[in-house]
Symmetry: C2
Subunit: 138 residues, 2 copies
DNA sequence: AGAGATCGTGCAACAGAAGTGCATTTAATG
DNA sequence: CATTAAATGCACTTCTGTTGCACGATCTCT
């Protein structure tokens, strides 16, 4: 049993061939991926399968969905120990307007925000747009 | 010349009948609206016209686009004196998971975020999800 | 190992939002 | 009024997300 198989198994997700492939693909990327990205990465990939795989992964806390403002859902693997299902890992995300890549900044948590009376916060999403470190010649 | 006509004129937008209607509609709402919301509000409304009107409004700084995480673009009138075109009015937005409405919290600015080396921030989007004041029985 | 249940995958089709091209109408300007 | 530019309406396309259903694979339990 490989590491990936163990990881999926731990999260009660049956490690099928396709799921392992998708997991590997995402693990090899530094940035968040869209459904279409995965679709294009594999010649023989069924959009529906990918869609449902990502949904399963998300429900089981293997990936988290990211809304980077492009109106296209992105996904990224959760860090080990991430508890984003229960909103305990609200890190921010960065979307580069040049290379169009979205990355997790897992070390940067979303600061606590005081809301007006009557408002109850349950989740938060903070996306910074700009130029990423790869695109800025630093 | 009405107030609305003056407002549009000040922003170099010709105050046509449709534009005035759309402006009035948005001004009467407390929450941000989607293209479809406007479409449904008027029996005789052409989606394309609304689409391009909102785009014009946005370019001229009359409305700002909001990404609330639903993957449906919302729009809200800019406050008087708002300079969101040049990213000077980065207030946060609240999306209610119960009534599905998105509102501007114009008094609550997005806090400054320190980014890793190489990252250059140009824009920011902070959306809090939860229960709004109307839906919570406060 | 075999029967039955459950889960995953593939195919087709649909819904909704966003966007474009072009013809026509409307408004501004002299 | 004639000319020109801007706004609108209509048709059509693309893309993402989503669901239904049938088939195949896998697990369980005897
Ligand atoms: Mn992330
Ligand atoms: Mn706003
Ligand atoms: Zn970049
Ligand atoms: Zn509400």
């Amino acid at each position: 049993m490989t590491e990936i198989e163990k990881t999926l198994d731990n999260k009660s997700v049956r490690p099928t061939a396709m799921r392992i492939l998708i997991y590997k693909f995402m693990a090899g990327k530094q940035n968040a991926v869209a459904l279409t990205d995965i679709e294009n990465a594999f010649e023989k990939a069924e959009r529906t399968t990918l869609y449902r795989t990502l949904k399963t992964f998300e429900e089981k806390g293997i990936v988290h969905q990211i809304d980077d403002g492009t109106n296209i859902s992105k996904f990224a693997l959760c860090e080990p120990g991430c508890n984003c299902e229960i909103d305990q890992d609200l890190h921010l995300h960065f979307h580069c307007s040049q290379c169009d890549k979205t990355v997790c900044l897992t070390e940067h948590k979303i600061p606590h925000i005081n809301l007006p009376a009557g408002y109850i916060a349950e989740d938060a999403n903070l996306v910074i747009k700009g130029i990423c470190d790869s695109c800025s010649d630093h």
